[in-house]
Symmetry: C3
Subunit: 403 residues, 3 copies
């Protein structure tokens, strides 16, 4: 396969326009990407204490996460095994002792086992172990619950942790931020009328930064040159000389995270974990995006600003801190909507072009294509994760972006 047919070396073709608009392709992406890979759904400390639960959408499924009496967090398809009713109708709650379907009272323990149903005692031939709630794979990492709908999940270490390690240089670097011990100081949910891939592509490059991000380029001057994405592994973007913190006006931020100092001080790191997580690291906070694709032309993005617990508890004003990336988000999502609007034009039927500072986006496109083509998505993602076999030759470390 040759993406570069008839294109000069400076340019690489993008995906064709219909990739962003075709409902059939979106259904395949739901099945082969969002329902196959690890998917960060919720902050784990939102489901604290035995019997706490939360329901979330993952791909086209609704999943219930519930913490057991043994304090373990578990996830299940939110479907009763009897007649298919949704078991938990509420978005969240606490104090459950059992999961009881509200239709016929089939009842499951917090670890999913069927423990009772009306007249079940008289049905001696029914093997209860066959009728527990269907479990969904779950991992807690960075203080988030990550679930995988697939029967056999990809390696969490290779795909999720590997993506972070590939960006930062090693899997341990991110531990400096102690993200699992931070607290959500602000959450903003964005309902974006654009395809999820446009949002990833945007996040991966900074060729647009000078055009649409005046505040961000003020704080991170190197983002203004259009080449900001071509970092080497482990590179962070340096704050501007007179910038005191990662805030909308460059004023001082909040209390620094103790583990973050030395080489990470006064720096900004952005990490993409396919298919739906972006993490931004700065000295005093972490910005954690999770995408929830809803339709070919609609994506909900939930964005958390995480601070040291005492910062949040003390009620300190985080608004200038939040405002910077909130503006970046709005600027980026407006750009994604612009692209969505024109994606089905005959002028974009074959797609557009990536300039050198965007070439690494082609790796993401290859990754997407491999997921969709492959019957065996495991193989596909392992190959793609390392960028092998794509026919692309990119600079080392070119796989990540700006923002």
């Amino acid at each position: 396969m040759s993406l570069q047919t008839q294109l000069p070396p400076s340019l690489i073709a993008t995906l064709p326009g219909h990739s962003y608009t075709d409902p059939e392709i979106f259904q395949q992406e739901q099945a082969k990407i969002f329902e196959t890979h690890w998917f960060a759904v919720a902050r784990a400390d939102e489901i604290e204490g035995p019997g706490s639960y939360r329901t979330v959408d993952v791909g086209r499924e609704n999943v219930v996460l519930v913490r057991g009496r043994d304090k373990t967090l578990r996830a299940f398809l939110n479907v009763c095994r009897h007649r298919g009713a949704r078991v938990c109708m509420e978005e969240s709650g606490t104090g459950l002792r059992r999961l009881r379907c509200g239709y016929h009272a089939w009842t499951y323990s917090l670890d999913g086992a069927l423990v009772g149903a009306p007249n079940l005692a008289q049905m001696e031939d029914v093997d209860r172990s066959q009728y527990g709630l269907i479990p969904v794979h779950l991992r807690e990492w960075l203080g988030y619950a990550w679930v995988c709908i697939a029967d056999v999940p990809p390696s969490f270490e290779d795909t999720v942790i590997g993506a972070v390690a590939g960006r930062l240089g090693s899997p341990e670097v991110i531990d400096d931020w102690g993200i699992d011990k931070l607290t959500v100081g602000r959450r903003i949910t964005y309902d974006v009328k654009a395809n999820w891939k446009l949002i990833i592509e945007n996040f991966m490059e900074c060729y647009h930064c000078a055009t649409i991000h005046p505040e961000l380029t003020e704080v991170l001057p190197e983002f203004a040159d259009g080449y900001a994405a071509q970092y080497f592994v482990g590179h962070g973007a340096e704050f501007g000389e007179n910038v005191q913190g990662f805030t909308v006006d460059g004023s001082e931020g909040l209390d620094h995270i103790p583990g973050v100092d030395g080489e990470h001080d006064r720096k900004y790191y952005a990490v993409t974990v396919n298919p739906q997580v972006f993490i931004n690291l700065v000295p005093d906070h972490v910005i954690f995006h999770r995408m929830f694709p809803v339709a070919a032309d609609r994506t909900v993005v939930e964005c958390d600003w995480l601070y040291m617990p005492h910062v949040v508890e003390s009620g300190k004003d985080v608004s200038r801190s939040v405002e910077l990336f909130h503006r970046v988000n709005e600027q980026d999502f407006d750009a994604a909507v612009r692209c969505q609007l024109a994606s089905n034009s005959k002028g974009y039927a074959k797609g557009g072009v990536l300039v050198p500072s965007e070439h690494h986006i082609a790796l993401f496109h290859e990754w997407v294509k491999l997921q969709l083509d492959s019957e065996h998505s495991m193989d596909a993602q392992l190959g793609a994760g390392a960028g092998h076999g794509t026919g692309l030759e990119l600079d080392a470390g070119a796989e990540f972006g700006h923002a």
Copy 2:
């Protein structure tokens, strides 16, 4: 065909999940079920007097019912034979002398014949008898107008009256309620975000009654044991000992219907007439549900509470009487929505299971499948109506439900 593969005798498989969500299946159900069978559309006394009319949706068609000068009620496709305009735009009206299309004034008599059009006199070669409104089969029974869109309707006696007779033991039993002489005391319309089959399945069983119907099981204690549906033919559910009437608090109901006494007194009967009518019979009133399927995931249900005419005319308070089944309806429709929400989960892709007190629902599933499979829906429904050839062995009289 074997539904019971790998299932123990206590369990029977349901329909697969996509039966409730696939728009293509819903279109087939419209064509082969709702536009093929008898469909109860309106209370006949709402279209009283020559020239009274009403328009209703039946499957994907709009039908106009109009009473002629001979007092006969007739039904037609609501489509002008000239350029296809909808002839009657209003939902109802009175005093029509002709059906005149509002576009080019093609004009039909109340029995559908083309009687005039601008310049028609000059078109001598046009055979007017070929351009009358297209008639739709119509029967009046139990005070309702039942129509059938099919060219050749199934036998009304075998399918509609037969369903009632099969439940009550003979076709005459329902005459005791004199339903055609009762008056609508209250009509409530429900817009339910669920597939029509979920509503029928719910109506057919009482395994859920103890869980979701506290008021109903108070009035009908035997409904609390989960086996209420397994009646024999002709069995009615007995009111509780201290219950005075079929009301939300068990207090006394309205004046009894004179013909209902002896074995039917202090009893409740529920009858399902596929594909869209439920009838509940109690000593002082009748509750008559008609379903109008709108989409795979949406069904409008119109429910009438019918009383003795003098009860309605006197303005007596029927609210406690209405409230009981209004609550049951809301409880049942909430349950149907729960199922709809999870129907497209991979956890329900192959469907769920029916416990013994629900086994008769499998007959309904067989009936649905026969309609969809068959080119000759006549044969199919006759076979299915009697439960023959389905491979299912059920107790006699197990074909009906609770509510």
Copy 3:
């Protein structure tokens, strides 16, 4: 092909019902009709002065019209060649010096050439001439901008001017109204829940006039006889004896257009230009309709009332003048909605019939079918425009309508 199978000579079959409801057919019509033919999008004087622009929908495309420094009006697909963002997001504006994409600042001159982009200087292998905005064919005529999305447009002279000339007798006749020098006195936009073909069919005949247009038939009495459409080429409908002007109450109109006198005085002419323009000519104004098809069952119609510039500038009351055809529009669009509602009935599955005063609508149906059937739409339209090869024998001049 024989449309007249089993029909008497007085009747000709219409298109089948699904032609008006099938989303797939609508997509084909977008591709083979609206994106292939000349399409009138905007009043040219709304885009006055260098750097003025306007964005419009044409078929499924969004087009930007912009006037260059050389005062030439040009049109482009509104899609950036880099990553496919919509270049102009606003509906209109003035004073542009460049077209600059708001995502990555790729910048085009007003004639569409790529003139700059961040870091473009470093990409020496990129041939800028390959990355200009994609031009869309544009013609100005009658004071409107007409665009054509097709790579090779049909002859403007044969299709657009030819349609007008065919109706009025010669291409020069319409010059008498000097439409390009008139001014928009009122614009009304209608959002019609009906297929675009129903609106054209309605415009083409006057068999409905007596039924739905009381005001119009008062002003143009010959429209009341149902045969009004069967004019000869060049025929205009005469105002009624006591009618002073083309107003809702027959009262005097506005100042006459100087060139219109003699044979055109006290007369009304209607012209249809397939696929989306209707023009009405009266002595003191011109009514110019443009249709924008949005979905199989939805069409936006923008209607301009054009007067002598001094009439509009003086602020004279044009309301009685506007009101006449505004009512006609509402009456006609209501009729189209009636037809839309019943188009998917089995009673209209094979369509309806055209009476003699509607027979010329069959030529429009043939034209539509030829567009959809043909790979080579150029041939098709040339053939159909002349009514050749359709198997239809119609009176000369029967190709146009009432209103």
